[in-house]
């Protein structure tokens, strides 16, 4: 898989959560073109083709879906969301927040920044599996992507 055929960009600093999410997507055959980055700084480098992705990525080819955690070191999810949604080139990329936080300041802030969807990661495994399967199916298969 080359860096330009990415369908899902998973931005998640917690390695256990990342592994569980990728496993569930794989189970449903939705992880073939998935890239996992561990903080917001790398996510932005990937999307905007800067830093370590300067050579390998084209900034006009966008992932079909960005799965974004909120609490991350260096650059957090809210900042990544803000940068993606405020840039005319990238603002139509579907961004789904996938977080442990069910707290209101976070939810309101994300929607005001233009997030496409906000999902709280269930603690219960069956519910978690179902949530990942549903969101994968919806955003990668059912949803019509921006052209």
């Amino acid at each position: 898989m080359n860096a330009n055929s990415v369908e899902v960009l998973l931005v998640e600093d917690n390695m256990s959560d990342a592994e569980l999410t990728i496993r569930e997507l794989k189970k449903n055959h939705m992880a073939n073109n998935l890239v996992h980055v561990v903080n917001g700084e790398e996510a932005l480098a990937f999307i905007f083709s800067t830093g370590k992705y300067q050579e390998t990525r084209s900034a006009i080819i966008h992932p079909k879906l960005v799965l974004l955690d909120i609490q991350m070191p260096k650059v957090n999810g809210l900042e990544v969301l803000e940068k993606i949604k405020s840039n005319p080139v990238t603002k139509s990329i579907p961004v789904v927040i996938l977080t442990s936080s069910k707290e209101n300041p976070d939810i309101e802030k994300c929607y005001s920044l233009g997030v496409n969807s906000y999902i709280v990661k269930p603690v219960n495994f069956e519910n978690f599996s179902l949530a990942i399967k549903n969101l994968g199916f919806y955003w990668l298969l059912l949803n019509q992507h921006p052209l």
């Binding site: 917690n14 256990s16 959560d17 569980l20 496993r23 442990s100 936080s101 707290e103 990661k121 269930p122 603690v123 219960n124 495994f125 069956e126 978690f128």
Partner: protein
């Protein structure tokens, strides 16, 4: 005239300090005089500020701890499930029993975190008082809670209840907690009976939920409404010990009181009051 007017006074060096002023009239032969008492309340003000700060820190701590505990919990449950699902042929009966024990404990921990979070959130929320149709609310709660205990047949004795002014979400939670408890602790009776009634006491409307269940030892009743305090074995009755503490917190924020009466194996009665 009046008491407790708080103002600022000036010390000799020019700095301000908080004072409380009380004025009272004195009738004398020469006519009415005013007596003014000026009290330095610097230390009281400092203590109040420290208390507010400590409460805020405690609530922030509870929130952050509960919140940050969820991720590793999800990891434990998730990976244990993967073990069960994908390595099932390599696990013998004992191994499967063990993964079951791991998951049960994580479910308990999850409930505890949820309850703690609800408790801490209660401290931060603003109480919004509106008219509450108590009869309707209680019937809705009974319907909802009964769905979780469909195999238990309860004899409900619900008397007409007074309507109140309160925060509907949290008063609902009070009813949910008290009614769930009543069902839970009378579930072992042959004929579980739960009575709900209300009465007026001065400027408070009082409500009670009475059951004929396993009751509690009256000598420990001061522990009932404290966080994590339980008077029963987890093996007999599951619970996190936060439910009643949450009831106490909600009712005291409304300006009311909670109290209880009980006797071992002779049932329990939980009361709460709300200002009229």
């Amino acid at each position: 005239m009046g008491e407790g007017l708080e103002l600022k006074a000036v010390k000799k060096d020019g700095t301000l300090f908080p004072v409380e002023i009380s004025l009272s009239p004195i009738n004398t032969e020469d006519g009415m005089l005013i007596s003014a008492a000026v009290r330095d309340i610097s230390s009281r003000k400092a203590m109040e500020a420290a208390l507010i700060k400590t409460n805020a820190e405690l609530e922030a701590f509870t929130y952050s701890v509960s919140h940050d505990l969820r991720a590793p919990l999800r990891g434990i449950i998730g990976f244990t499930s993967i073990l069960e699902e994908e390595y099932t042929s390599k696990l013998d009966e004992e191994a499967k029993r063990i993964t079951g024990v791991i998951k049960n404990n994580t479910v308990k921990m999850g409930r505890l975190i949820d309850d703690l979070l609800a408790f801490s959130r209660m401290g931060k929320r603003e109480i919004v008082k509106e008219f509450i149709d108590t009869n309707k609310l209680v019937r809705d709660v009974i319907k909802e809670v009964s769905q979780l205990h469909q195999n238990i047949k309860i004899n409900w004795q619900i008397k007409p209840l007074k309507n109140v002014r309160g925060d509907i979400q949290t008063i609902r939670q009070v009813w949910i907690n008290l009614i769930s408890n009543a069902i839970k602790y009378s579930s072992h009776e042959k004929e579980p009976t739960i009575t709900i009634d209300s009465f007026t006491d001065g400027d408070q409307y009082c409500f009670f939920v009475k059951d004929n269940g396993v009751g509690f030892n009256d000598q420990y009743k001061h522990k009932l409404f404290k966080v994590f305090q339980r008077l029963h074995d987890t093996s007999q009755f599951e619970g996190t010990g936060v439910g009643l503490a949450l009831v106490e917190k909600i009712i005291s924020r409304h300006g009311g009181k909670v109290w209880a009466e009980g006797e071992v194996n002779a049932g329990a009665c939980f009361y709460f009051s709300i200002p009229v």
